[in-house]
Symmetry: C2
Subunit: 354 residues, 2 copies
């Protein structure tokens, strides 16, 4: 395995107040850098003081959006260990994104090793409060300066770390979600299955309009028929109808969430039927009218589980479980966050100790 050069900064930064950590606003003392060119491949892995990077104005990432990323978390446990949650899945997905955007693949094992090394260097930054963690952002950008539209020849992989607070400071809070009927996030044959920068640019306007109307997120429908549910903002989504849990199948425009995968495995182990299939808003509305729509929740790295209290669709208000957190949502949240922080036995061997 390649050696990682480590340059420790002399003047460590002031750490932010652990009780008021806004998501993705504070960054640790160091970052990991790794360069790619056609001659040398991926080379020069190094940990350096966190600070500005220098790019040519013609760097292709700034013009043609050739950029992919991942999101992961490290947790402090009560007994002083640091745990990652299924980090191999993120490394696999990073390479899936790379292949879709024609970015050279990375050595998954080595990048995971580099992330662990970086976390060790900045381990004092991992917060310890309930619900807090160290958010890990690996990303790859095309750095070659050229205005031709094609895959770049030069790239940089970076890993930055950000201490983050509990997603819901007052415990789990159900969110109100607008079902989007004008904008699209992705379509089959597009970039929807990749964690590509451009997918998020496409979502900003719909999110803003939803927020202005009093909703915290957007539920995306399929771009073809505008009938079938795809995903919520930056989360996957699950519906509990009459005891069965249903989540949209990975149809070529949905991101394959690591939390989504974990939820399916947990529920199956618990003997609850999970269906991965197309599910239409008509079916959800009908279940609501029949009083069989029991719970709705989003899943993702940031919030883990995000209970949905209301869906607003086509001028119709769908209130779920009287706007309260469902029993299963709470149980899934407690189990996954328990495993992540070492409070619940990790029988599925999901965690990796740093």
């Amino acid at each position: 395995m390649k050696d990682i050069q480590i340059s420790i900064r002399e003047d460590l930064k002031q750490k932010p107040d652990q009780d008021h950590l806004e998501f993705g606003q504070h960054f640790t003392d160091h970052m990991f850098l790794f360069d790619y060119n056609s001659e040398q491949g991926w080379h020069d892995p190094r940990i350096v003081p966190y600070g500005p990077i220098v790019l040519e104005p013609a760097a292709m990432v700034l013009h043609y959006g050739q950029a992919v990323f991942e999101g992961m978390k490290a947790f402090n446990t009560n007994n002083g260990n640091v745990l990652l949650f299924r980090p191999q899945k993120n490394m696999e997905r990073l390479n899936q994104s790379n292949r879709r955007l024609e970015i050279p693949e990375i050595d998954e094992e080595f990048i995971l090793h580099a992330i662990q090394t970086l976390i060790n260097v900045d381990k004092e930054w991992i917060p310890s409060g309930k619900g807090t963690s160290l958010y890990i952002r690996p990303f790859i950008i095309a750095t070659e300066p050229c205005l031709g539209v094609r895959a770049a020849h030069n790239y940089q992989l970076l890993v930055i770390l950000s201490p983050v607070g509990a997603y819901y400071s007052e415990g789990l809070e159900p969110v109100k979600i607008n079902v989007e009927s004008s904008y699209s996030r992705a379509v089959r044959g597009g970039l929807g299955t990749a964690k590509a920068a451009g997918n998020y640019a496409a979502s900003i306007k719909a999110q803003t309009e939803a927020k202005e109307a009093g909703y915290s997120q957007v539920l995306w429908l399929d771009a073809l028929e505008r009938k079938y549910v795809e995903e919520v903002g930056s989360m996957n989504i699950f519906f509990k109808i009459n005891g069965t849990v249903i989540t949209p199948e990975l149809n070529g425009s949905i991101l394959a969430g690591v939390t989504r995968d974990s939820i399916i495995e947990l529920l199956t182990n618990w003997g609850i039927t999970v269906e991965e299939r197309r599910i239409s808003m008509d079916e959800i509305y009908q279940a609501h009218k029949d009083h069989t729509l029991e719970e709705v929740f989003g899943t993702g790295t940031a919030a883990v589980i995000s209970p949905v209290g209301e869906l607003f669709w086509d001028d119709r208000q769908i209130i779920i479980n009287d706007g309260c957190i469902g029993e299963l949502s709470q149980q899934l949240y407690d189990t996954i966050t328990g495993i992540q922080t070492g409070m619940v036995p990790d029988t599925l061997q999901w965690t990796v100790q740093v």
Copy 2:
């Protein structure tokens, strides 16, 4: 109008050989920068030596692709003038892109003034050979360091200049195009009408696969039914069938090209019927079988007119005009490049003197 601060570099760069100018590889001595924050709005317009820019690793453009751009050209005329071609249209479209991506709008007149000032500073860089020009790349990137997915609060607008050669060094050459049936570029409700960085990232893999199969470009079909023609690579497309010229209507997923608009106006003035409407590959194939498919050409800032000699669709080869340049394609190319370089009277008042 705001004052533009100008810092001239002391050591001017060596200019590249005008006979071997690759597209978007060489950049002039200076660039224009303009910053935005919520308090000051757009501020501090300045022309500085061309060189690397400094970004926070958490700059939102690198993670969520909030970036838009334009492409324009400046031409040297025989009598020593410098002409721009319909630059107001590019400024209008830049603001359309801004609105779609929630980037603060710019003062179109001021940015055009800034571009003209920059061109004047670097006017020695405008090449004079046949078919050459100075390519102008205005672009805006989200610079705020934050990992939350939302519209950024800080941006930078940059303009960089690149001397470019004739797109076809040996005169107009018909291209072979693969009709794409797996990948999608954009869909209604997405970013297809904006000149957004992410749209180009989505196109790279299809372009590579087409090139490997011997085709120089990809023809995108609508993502919904995979039946109707949308656009070619980074160009709009026109079909001449039985004397009538047909181009896909601006349906919400196609970019509104400035050259496209100019072609429609020219053809209409020449008394040729132009239809902006949905056109399916079935219709094109039928016209080919009926021997009424007379010409096909792409239009865009880079190539102006790009005659299509072959379309490969669903294992069927559609040869157009025996693979030769059509009469109308040539006439359009000569007229537009003539107007751009001051050789043909600009009766439509399309050019702007710098």
